[in-house]
Symmetry: C2
Subunit: 383 residues, 2 copies
Amino acid sequence: MQDKLTLMIPGPTPVPETVLQALGRHPIGHRSAEFQKIVKRTTEQLQWLHQTSNDVLVITGSGTAAMEAGIINVLSKGDKVLCGDNGKFGERWVKVAKAYGLEVQVIKAEWGQPLDPEAFRAALEADTAKEIRAVIVTHSETSTGVINDLQTIASYGQAHGTALTIADCVTSLGATDVPMDRWGVDVIGSGSQKGYMMPPGLAFVAMSEKAWEASKRSDLPKFYLDLSKYRKSAADNSNPFTPGINLYFALEAALDMMQKEGLEAIFARHARHRAAAQAGMEAMGLPLYAAKGHGSPAITAVAPEGIDAEALRKKVKERFDILLAGGQDHLKGKVFRIGHLGFVCDRDVLTAVAAIEATLQELGLGKGTTGAGVAAAAAALAP
Amino acid sequence: MQDKLTLMIPGPTPVPETVLQALGRHPIGHRSAEFQKIVKRTTEQLQWLHQTSNDVLVITGSGTAAMEAGIINVLSKGDKVLCGDNGKFGERWVKVAKAYGLEVQVIKAEWGQPLDPEAFRAALEADTAKEIRAVIVTHSETSTGVINDLQTIASYGQAHGTALTIADCVTSLGATDVPMDRWGVDVIGSGSQKGYMMPPGLAFVAMSEKAWEASKRSDLPKFYLDLSKYRKSAADNSNPFTPGINLYFALEAALDMMQKEGLEAIFARHARHRAAAQAGMEAMGLPLYAAKGHGSPAITAVAPEGIDAEALRKKVKERFDILLAGGQDHLKGKVFRIGHLGFVCDRDVLTAVAAIEATLQELGLGKGTTGAGVAAAAAALAP
């Protein structure tokens, strides 16, 4: 049916009507006093979301642009960095670092497993010469549905003294607690089509004073992603380059809604949806892909043994107009992922579980008692 | 009055209702077959607009991102480039080139004057060692309202053989004839909030085969702006990073409208509006800033002698809700600019002239016969 699509992928995520209406307003001049007000307001809202007094800068681009900006503004050619890699996005930051000639020490974990904070601690403690300039870590690994222990890893970065912690919080910010200042994270990158409940197009980089200090010696070439230009303009509630003006309208509307709901309620909602998605899948006999206790509050990856995950995903779309995400790279066909990030309510998660259960039943692939998935999800959602 | 603002600045430009409605649709997955259809369709439309069979790639970002991508993908550190500079955007490309360690030979003209193509010819002919790798030129210089002779400059680049022509067509594309293939332009950068009749957020880079050939030896670091990634994804009607999905909806709607109008009609409309704006200003005794015969079809810069241009501009906004652009840098207070680019009809230009004339009259600053500006503009608009 036309216009019936429900997004249950980890981005783009569903967008509230209020936000879409803001998006569809006629643009105004980006050098006007009226727009400066929006920049000022949204900057304060972004600081609230990041739980920080640091600068939070807005780039028109994707989450990758934000992360690249975070990396290339605080480092110099040949700098040594530790980079966590337990999924597609961890891999990506290794590639970005290498593209700019950084010396990358990769700390790996198998896909589906969390990064081991102790591996970071050991590498940082062994670095008595203080050559490690940054630790790059993905908080919520979108490809596997694993949440890494950013808090602990950041604490080891802090203890090291020289190393900055640069965190990909693209699918964690707005879904779970990321208190930037309290955890001592120096750089956070995120993107609008995730917890922000907005369409894609804006990306966000928060920078600590320590990160700005490091940026002074950065010699990597950049222009559009040169954050010093964004900081200078932000002081005047402006942008160095023409920003996505309509996306700013949407940003203000979405952050308004988030502030009304409150951080605690938002985090509790995502935790509840993780519990419901996990319980639902397990009750249906569908194994979770992420290691137990390390599932992301934003996304649940499922590895249905003996079932073509891609065929199941497509059937759910065809029958119920619910778009689930497939597996990436070597997980294609082996894994499907349920996005429960952003503008998602209990009904959406219950519905996704019900649709998956009904599809398995239609395909004659249901294991255990039919209805068990929905029952388990409903129990997890109950107040 | 609320919601009465009319944009007559060189970006963002007015956006048709149809395009805003497309923008406000709920996003779909960017890895879906439905989105691939949109990428395929808009790519063909973009090729039509660029009059090219070359790749035209879409970046989520500003026009500066597109130009930076065009420059850093085809050049290497230490490469010699010729860069035209007769305004703020010419200046910017010099800065981008220098930020990446290119050796820049600047060909300057005073602000308000066009670049002299003969200066490019002389420099290129003198380069018998074929060390010049690229000529960077701004077609329509937004800061001064001057159109440079891209066609002739590109022909000298072609005659040189090695040098690529990289053109900033941000405010010329969709306003005047830019036949990429026929003129032999190798790289064209543009942005959505200009002739495209869209809000800002998408940027476009067209690349000739010669440019792709040159890209193979490029050693400048990049990731988000690495066009080889975009080309690879484009072959699959996709994007390497999550694109501005809703902006794509708007792009398709806007290009539909442009195709219905037709290139010749679009160019004739912009030429007519340039003539009307120029005639109206001159009839009011307001001197044009761009040298005679070199005014851009997208924007008319006016230097009202003895009048505070900024005060006039603000008054027009206050009284009539028409937003004109001010002067940039040293032109602040000395120049105002009328944008007549994109979704602008005869009525809009007539209205802008009338509003400026009425404001001068209210301020007691009118020169010559009141009504002369509108009469001259009307004559220029008459079929």
